[in-house]
Amino acid sequence: MSKFKLHDHILVPKHILLSDEEAEEVLKTLGVSKEQLPKIRADDPVAKEIGAKPGQIVKIIRESPTAGKSIAYRLVI
């Protein structure tokens, strides 16, 4: 069975792995600690695809009918 990328699917929003510096920056602007972010599991298929490891932060960009683009962050656990 050939493997295909989850990200190629139209319904999968873009997941981007943040660097430590970027992650730091995001937490500073949001004014929260890592643990207060929503979570994504490291064994989530899309997390595996981008190689996210527990403790890292993933940025998710979704298309929104009302807001155009909506950005969310998740802590990998």
Binding site: L30, V32, Q36, P38, T66, A72
Partner: protein, 880 residues
Amino acid sequence: MIPKRIAGIRFEVLSPQEIRRMSVAKIITPETYDDDGYPIEAGLMDPRLGVIDPGLRCKTCGGKAGECPGHFGHIELAAPVIHVGYAKLIAKLLNATCKECGRILLKDDRRDHYINMIEQKKRLGQDCEDVIKEVFRVTKGVKVCPHCGTEQTEIKFEKPTFFYEGEHKLTPKDVRERLEKIPDEDLPAFGMNPKAVRPEWMVLTVLPVPPVTVRPSIILETGQRSEDDLTHKLVDIIRINQRFMDNKEGGAPQLILEDLWELLQYHVTTYLDNEVSGIPPARHRSGRPLKTLAQRLKGKEGRFRGSLSGKRVNFSARTAISPDPNISINEVGVPKIVAEELTVPFHVTDKNIEEARELILRTEHPKANYVIRPDGRRIRVLDTNREELAEKLEPGMIIERQLMDGDVVLFNRQPSLHRMSIMAHYVRVLPYKTFRLNPAVCPPYNADFDGDEMNLHVPQSLEAQAEAKILMSVQEHILSPRFGGPIIGGIHDHISGLYLLTRGEKLFTRKEVMSIIKPIEVKELPKPKYVKDGVEYWTGKQIFSMILPDITIEFKAEICQGCEECKKEKCEYDAYVIIKNGELVSGTVDEKAVGAFKGIIIDEIMRKYGSERTRKFIDDMTHLAIRAIMYTGFSFGISDEDIPEEAIKQIHEVIAEAEKKVEELIKAYREGNLEPMPGRSIEETLEMKIMQVLGKARDQAGKIASRFLGMDNSAVIMAVSGARGSMLNLTQMAACIGQQSVRGERIKRGYTYTNRTLPHFKPGDLGAKARGFVKSSYKEGLSPVEYFFHAMGGREGLVDTAVRTSQSGYLQRRLINALQDLKVEYDGTVKEQTSGMLVQFRYGEDGVDPTKSFRGKAVDVKRIINEVLSSEGEQVREYE
């Protein structure tokens, strides 16, 4: 300090040792107080159990009343008794274990298999109840013990606390001995943790005696002591316990001992729960059933729902509501007797001391009820002390002044499902006994006047009053966050009135105009539209324009027929509304313009001029509408549904035609000539086609009726303008009620074995009449068969609403519980308040407050463009 967190709660069963360990006194005598009124040692009111009398100190902890939490005592029971709460579990355990060796009736590997399953489920946070149920089910079927080979007999459980092995009755002592034999290793298979529960603890040998603080005695006016129900019950228990012991020592016959044992069991059972089935409840001398332990916790007035979740307040009132169109939407009419009881604190300073003095000296309505001195003493103002109190008044005192005009209060109607269910109103003290409210605020409260009651609360602090005025005023809630449009607006007569006033070109003389605009503030009349023979004439549209602020909008009215190509201002139905610079140029004002939920004009004024101006517009609009409808006169009666012979004939023809068509369809079906529709069986196809034909027939009948009723008919006016009712209602009244349905299908159930709905029909009749088609109109009246089918359809509707309300109520509760401490922060994020968890990065993804949205959309581009262009003297047309 690091806040401590509760990691979990574990429930265990108290062991006899534990009960003795936590006890501070062994209770042996049923007496409570001696002749001098002092509590007896080792009695139920033993001073070691805590204090309730002020002044005394606890013998155990030395605390005063209020400081000492109370301490448990215990009673050594002369014979073991079953705990009712565990009786069912005991029965299950007895049947699941060997009567001889006490082992579970399963081989060890099978037992371990179940234990593993339960542990795994618990680890995953799943419910293990079903596995435990299976263990009990499997073990009950085992006839021979796999460990010692003893044959098992089934134990029969009889409510509430009796166990029989065949004919032989087991005493609690027998039961306890059997439970003792169950080894710890077998318990996890029953979902029990041996560290927390030993099964024999479910048979009581020691009874804890709750502290006196839990069952305080009260002293009646006569000076007599009246004991708590729990104390009464404990007295009974100790008495029988004593009797049992005396008889046993005295060597009484077994029969008498057994009777006493059973009596002890009865008292302990009713002490724990006085509402168990199978035994009569213990009663007070007066015949009132006692309120024992379970009754304190259970039900609506119990500890959980009544004391912990329930809140009650002062400074509140409740009474029936009735309408008053003459008060503003942000006012509430408060009956004088209510206003005389409710108070607002008035803080006395040297600036207002004279005003305060006057209030105290008054003998009528807005007067002072109480004076509160700086030390907190409250003194009621009476005829006898009025002068004295006024004289002694000084800054720093607080007087409680009666509610009066202009005070701000919170007004509420249950079920309080959205924020508009509690709004701030200004008080108008009025005669009679009902709260009065402007009918235009009925929609947000979902109120009507068929006996509805509402609550009123008086905010006491200045902060609360300010908050109520700024955040909760009615005018701040004209736009609903539910759909971003007005929820407060014209209803019923307001819409009919303005429709009658503004439709077409109605002319009014000066005198008539003055009479209509009497309740509204108009400084200057516009120029009359026509002057004929020296008489000035104004149009209804001009009159309506007098209350409009400077706005410019265009829209299709509710009465719009949806013509293929809209002729705009030349619309023959006068259904295209154009308002130019606050002047109604064309179109009819109806529900779409000023109605609650739709009201485009209200929406526009709110966005352009804000809440206060909108409030004034709604007040003016309702006043004007009511004057207008009174000027024309508006009534509706049974004769308004009269249609001429000719129309009746046409309707009958249409229905006869349809019935014939149905017969043809059935014939085709029986002969097998019916072509099934894609994805449907032939039967389904037939049903759908019949429904279609009959539905069409009803619509046609309605069309015929409305053609003959005409646009001057009151019911038609109400239906088309959106004031009340629909054309369907009218059709059913005047022409034909139509198909009755149950679960979306034609009525088919009834005498199943003969396959017909009623004995009036032949078996298997699929015709219109036999399956619930009502061809009569409400006016004509229904035939008995039609009436029956109509009742079936009607009943389904009633049941549906009843079920839906209870379901949605519970859903709402859960939703509120889950979301109650989410808050939109100033940076637009949504956070959980206690943990600081981020829930949304931007409120609702787009950060839009739905109240300020335009019917759900973030911005109303068309409105903005129009505004920009109109400031340059141009207009863009509404295209839709």
